[in-house]
């Protein structure tokens, strides 16, 4: 999902847009030809859920912070789901603790920057996109953090043809999404903040503390107007790659997105996502895989949490993250296997190899962990004999 967003963000960033341009003039989609968001492979949140946002805005009578499209209460409702007084149903965008969404929304309302942390596959990008869509009505002001992200991506760049022809001027300046967000009082997003080199990260410090972006070449500065804020996401498995300096860290309120709290919730998420993905890939429908899905989720949870579901036995955790997203991919994979090569029913053997691949990331240490888990937990469990056999077969 982030790949799409990058294209659109960079495309819009490369078109020289004056920072004083009003929001209505600014192209919200990448190419005019792609205009109809319904036809896009993946429409932006503000388009996909435009109806809900409109309904919320219409019903919202609470005070809104400057340039917010909705009040904080409405933003929280948009993310958590609910039913409006007129009967409009708001679908939940984020399934998880209410507290997290409340803290995130409150942080944005107190003009502190928000840092969403979490292991891969915990919906960080998803939450940040929907927050930006609900708060500013625009989730496209995005900087994708990579090891090669330059300072221009966060501050501003130059249109060199203009620069050479007419010298430095506001017209030759190519504003970054962050700069545009500052000028217009919108929400900017930075994805994978910890992948960005440390010196580039630090250019955010002035922006976040002084709320201003100097342009020394022009002897000007861009001051953030009220409503500007920034949502960053970072992967806490990557800690230490380009760790945030404490000066930068201090500018953020941190919210950690947890893995699903209960097995049932996770099975629910996995089943739903597997169905969606399977449909979009035109996989043949496989009936009744719920038992194996449940099994995959259980194995992932137990290894991840280091304790069995009944809370009786502790197990070691392997080095992989074993996120819900990986569980989804194991199941999709197993479905494809059973549909094309198996008897059309999701069997233990179809998921065993996938599980092994997900669990054993480090051949030496993880293999011991996996074998110990197989021998002490799986072997003893009632009704898991087939699964045990299948795992033994692929592990041997």
């Amino acid at each position: 999902m982030s790949a799409m967003s990058v294209t659109s963000a960079s495309a819009s960033a490369s078109s020289p847009v004056s920072t004083s341009a009003s929001a209505s003039e600014r192209p919200t989609t990448a190419e005019p030809g792609q205009g109809e968001s319904a036809q896009a492979l993946r429409p932006h949140a503000e388009h996909a859920f435009a109806a809900e946002l409109t309904a919320l805005a219409a019903q919202d009578d609470r005070p809104r912070p400057a340039r917010w499209k909705l009040s904080p209460w409405a933003v929280a409702t948009y993310l958590l789901g609910g039913t409006l007084p007129d009967g409009t149903v708001i679908t939940p965008k984020y399934v998880g603790p209410r507290r997290i969404v409340e803290v995130a929304v409150t942080t944005l309302a107190t003009d502190r920057a928000l840092l969403l942390l979490g292991v891969p596959g915990t919906a960080k990008t998803w939450v940040s996109e929907h927050l930006a869509a609900a708060v500013s009505g625009d989730s496209t002001l995005l900087v994708q953090g990579t090891a090669g992200t330059p300072e221009e991506a966060i501050r501003y760049g130059w249109n060199y043809a203009q620069l050479l022809a007419h010298g430095p001027s506001r017209d030759a300046l190519v504003p970054s999404p962050v700069m545009r967000a500052m000028a217009e009082g919108m929400t900017a997003r930075v994805e994978e903040l910890t992948r960005i080199p440390a010196d580039v990260q630090d250019s955010l410090i002035t922006i976040l503390s002084e709320k201003t972006l100097p342009v020394p070449e022009l002897g000007q500065e861009v001051q953030a107007v009220r409503g500007f804020n920034l949502i960053a996401t970072a992967n806490d498995r990557d800690r230490g790659v380009n760790d945030l300096s404490s000066a930068l860290r201090r500018r953020f309120n941190t919210v950690v997105l947890p893995l699903p709290a209960s097995a049932d919730a996770e099975v629910d998420i996995v089943t739903r996502r597997v169905e969606q993905i399977g449909r979009s890939l035109d996989l043949p429908a496989v009936p009744d895989g719920i038992e194996e899905i449940h099994r995959v989720v259980t194995v992932f949870r137990e290894l991840r949490d280091g304790i069995t579901a009944d809370g009786r036995t502790k197990v070691k955790s392997p080095s992989g993250t074993l996120s819900t997203a990986e569980a989804i991919s194991v199941v999709t994979n197993g479905l494809a296997l059973s549909a094309h090569f198996g008897d059309g029913v999701l069997r233990p053997a179809d998921v065993a190899a996938g599980i092994l691949g997900a669990v054993v990331r480090d051949p030496a240490a993880d293999r011991v962990v996996w074998q110990e888990y197989l021998e002490t937990v799986v072997r003893e469990r009632e009704g898991w004999t087939d699964f045990y056999r299948a795992c033994r077969e692929v592990s041997a």
Partner: protein, 796 residues
């Protein structure tokens, strides 16, 4: 203070101050109301037997949190606690009375009746909590449109700051609300409340008779309407007539914030005593002060938290409160703010904050003048029952555990040792090594009484205290071996109820300990206690389960752990392998015995042949894997082969093949010498004496070792062979001196038989031994076939 308020305070009879137990807002309100009303007597919900103990509350040595402890005189285990923190409204009322020289009395149902009730409802703390926690508050909160009754109560009552307001209004409003509630949800569910309230009314009437109208009552909000009710003295008396009674004793005991917290066993029903204490003591700006406190704590723990963090945290907490529609940030909002701003979203610093501040480490104190703790009494009672007098003179005590009294004494001494009361020290038994005999060295020193008093925090009886202590120790223990040792002590002390906790900790530690050495160390002790438990008839099902799990983990982890070890580590590992080997043998036996005894074969999985057999087979597979893996040091490979050979799991030809492999020229001499040490080291020389083939292999290898390498392997070989008994050494020397040629010649002469034996069995002489052998083996005559087989085995 304001005298004009008096008529208002007592306008509707006595001043009834309904509170929530341990509510700081309630406490603050009570203090304000008492200051304004200046009653002539203060009545407090609590056991009236404790009236005599009230003056102690003025003693500077008595510092809350403390609890009133009531226990039955002849059964200290039957006890009840009334905890007080300094922010408890009841405590505030008592202190107010003492400071103003006004009498204070407890008016609840006497503890004599409370304790006489059936055992299932011993804990009045829970009962007290039940009154407010249950329906009434939830219903009130629901009526106000809140889903969380606790939070609602906090918003409207506990978070009320100090201020110039009419001190009586909240109480009146609360009383009305409770009255309305009681009308709908009558006290039907709270059968005991009828008695308690009747008693309260009686005491209230007596107080009014004595002191007039100026009476203030501090009690749970739920009871207020009942106290206002107009009933007749006779009716109340009749209700209380004939209630069961026991003789009780009361005293003050020190209490802790941790025990006030809901999470710990006794649970007076508040989750955050530290937070409440803060709310009570903070003169103003509670949120700012609280977050500053948190920042200071985190700074002490070397976390960088600046004033800017505090400012942002306060802002976030206040905005969150606004978003959630609360008048003031509560604990939830401040916690969320601390997590997001100061803690980088992590729960680790939060756990620290919760532990140190939200709950807090406050420990109460009780002056020496308070009556003795019940643990002391229970100990004295047991000492009498077991005829074991404490004496300052050291003496030795021999116990025969087969007798009831002696077994009881042993258990008592072991329990006291667990509690840190070192009255007896176990000494080595003289003469006998039987497990049914124990020797103790006893000496009672005066400071042991202090220890007993200290141990009083763990419980009211020796049994209960030892159990609580063992559970706490298990949770706190760091090393796996400590926990196994504790399990052993629990068995010795007869604390089967503490075992589940110890076992759970043990299983957890075992699962998380990545060092196979630790696991291997823990296993033998565990298997020992398993067998010992069997001897004592303790139920050791859980123990066996953990032991099996531990063994499995060792099996899986051992082969990788044996790779790439240096010499010292390899030697240490050899010790572990030996220990696990004997433990597995013992475990197999024990399990087999248990299964034969009728217990379910719980351990046998889908692939386990039998409970014990499977275990042993898997262990052999592990040994086989060890013996054939090149990365495993020689000493371990040799040891593994030897163990397999001794077990009969490896044919001697196969052993010879492996030995030949290990001693082949391709192997480094040092490694080969280590293999030999592992194989025949530690008194295994007889094998070489009797198996010529193996000796020839060693001999041949040694002759092939080059001159330089020989100096290297010499110390190792010396260490191996020096450990043999002199006789074995001499025989070996003679065999070697005779030389391989000689031996070959000898073998030819003897028809290829072992030296010392004839070529053919001498059946006549063998038959002569049979009767004695039968006697020794306890075999019957009709099992001739077996005898023959055994003899055949011996003959070859």
């Amino acid at each position: 203070m304001n005298d004009t308020r008096w008529p208002q305070a007592y306008a509707s009879g006595p001043l009834l101050l309904g509170v929530r137990h341990h509510g700081p807002g309630s406490a603050r309100a009570v203090r304000g109301a008492l200051d304004a009303a200046r009653p002539a007597v203060v009545l407090v919900e609590g056991p009236p037997e404790a009236d005599a103990l009230i003056p102690l509350a003025a003693d500077p040595g008595l510092r809350p949190p403390v609890a009133l402890l009531a226990h039955a005189v002849d059964e200290p285990g039957r006890s009840a606690f009334w905890p007080f923190a300094d922010f408890s409204p009841e405590w505030v009322a008592i202190r107010w009375a003492l400071e103003h020289g006004v009498p204070a009395h407890f008016i609840d149902l006497p503890a004599a009746h409370t304790l006489a009730r059936e055992k299932g409802e011993q804990d009045p703390g829970a009962k007290r909590e039940g009154e407010v926690r249950g329906d009434p508050l939830a219903v009130l909160a629901e009526a106000a449109g809140h889903d969380d009754p606790e939070r609602w109560w906090e918003d409207i009552v506990e978070h009320r700051g100090p201020g110039e307001r009419d001190p009586f209004v909240p109480f009146a409003a609360l009383a009305d609300a409770m009255g309305a509630l009681r009308e709908r949800y009558d006290a039907g569910g709270h059968g005991r409340d009828l008695f308690r309230e009747a008693h309260m009314r009686l005491r209230l009437r007596a107080a009014r008779k004595e002191f007039g109208e100026q009476v203030a009552v501090v009690c749970g909000a739920w009871h207020v309407p009942a106290l206002r009710e107009k009933t007749t003295v006779a009716a109340d008396r009749a209700l209380l007539k004939g209630l069961a009674k026991v003789r009780t004793d009361l005293t003050w005991v020190p209490w802790t914030h941790r025990r006030l917290a809901r999470s710990s066993g006794y649970g007076a029903g508040i989750a955050s005593p530290g937070w409440y204490g803060h709310l009570f003591h903070a003169p103003d700006r509670p949120v700012e002060r609280w977050l500053t406190k948190v920042a200071r704590l985190l700074r002490e723990e070397d976390r960088i938290v600046s004033s800017a963090h505090v400012i942002e945290a306060v802002r976030l907490a206040e905005t969150l409160a606004a978003l959630r529609g609360r008048p003031l940030p509560g604990l939830g909002e401040t916690t969320d703010a601390v997590r997001a701003v100061m803690g980088d979203g992590s729960d680790v610093p939060l756990a620290l904050v919760h532990d140190r501040l939200v709950v807090g480490d406050v420990l109460g104190e009780v002056p020496e003048s308070a009556p003795a703790v019940p643990l002391q009494r229970d100990l004295a009672r047991q000492q009498r029952a077991l005829r074991l007098k404490p004496a300052a003179l050291e003496r030795e005590l021999e116990l025969d555990l087969r007798g009831d009294t002696d077994a009881g004494r042993s258990r008592l001494l072991h329990r006291l040792r667990l509690l840190g009361v070192g009255w007896g020290e176990p000494a080595r038994s003289r003469g006998s090594t039987g497990t049914f005999r124990e020797t103790w060295r006893l000496r009672w020193e005066p400071e042991l009484s202090v220890r007993v008093a200290e141990a009083g925090v763990w419980g009211t009886t020796v049994l209960g205290a030892a159990q609580a202590r063992a559970e706490a120790d298990a949770t706190a223990a760091c090393a796996l071996a400590d926990v196994t040792a504790l399990a052993e002590r629990c068995l010795l002390a007869g604390l089967p109820n503490a075992l589940p906790v110890v076992m759970r900790v043990l299983a957890d530690r075992a699962a998380l300990d990545t060092d196979v050495g630790h696991l291997a160390q823990a296993l033998p002790a565990l298997v020992r206690s398993l067998r010992y438990g069997d001897v004592r008839g303790t139920d050791t099902g859980a123990l066996a389960g953990v032991a099996m799990g531990l063994a499995e983990r060792v099996f899986v982890g051992l082969p990788p752990a044996c790779a790439a070890l240096d010499r010292d580590a390899a030697d240490e590992m050899r010790g572990h392998v030996d220990a696990v080997h004997s433990a597995v043998g013992l475990l197999t036996e024990t399990r087999a015995g248990a299964v034969a005894g009728g217990a379910a074969a719980a351990g046998s999985g889908p692939f386990g042949a039998g409970p014990g057999g499977g275990l042993r087979d898997r262990w052999r597979a592990v040994l086989r894997a060890l013996s054939s893996r090149d990365s495993v040091p020689g000493v371990l490979r040799g040891r593994a082969v030897r163990l397999l050979l001794d077990d009969g799991a490896l044919r001697s030809e196969e052993a010879a093949r492996l030995m030949g492999l290990a001693l082949s020229p391709g192997t480094a001499p040092a490694d080969a010498a280590a293999w030999i040490e592992g194989f025949v080291g530690g008194g295994g020389g007889l094998l070489l004496v009797h198996d010529e083939r193996l000796l020839a292999l060693v001999d041949g290898w040694l002759r092939g070792v080059s001159g330089e390498a020989f100096t290297d392997v010499l110390p190792l070989l010396r260490r191996t062979f020096a450990a043999y008994e002199p006789g074995v050494r001499r025989t070996l020397g003679e065999l070697v001196r005779r030389g391989p040629a000689d031996r070959a010649a000898g073998r030819a002469a003897h028809g290829a038989v072992t030296p010392g034996f004839a070529a053919e069995p001498d059946t006549g002489r063998a038959d002569a031994v049979l009767p004695v052998l039968r006697l020794l083996l306890g075999l019957d005559d009709d099992s001739d076939m077996r005898d023959d087989n055994i003899l055949a085995g011996v003959g070859v």
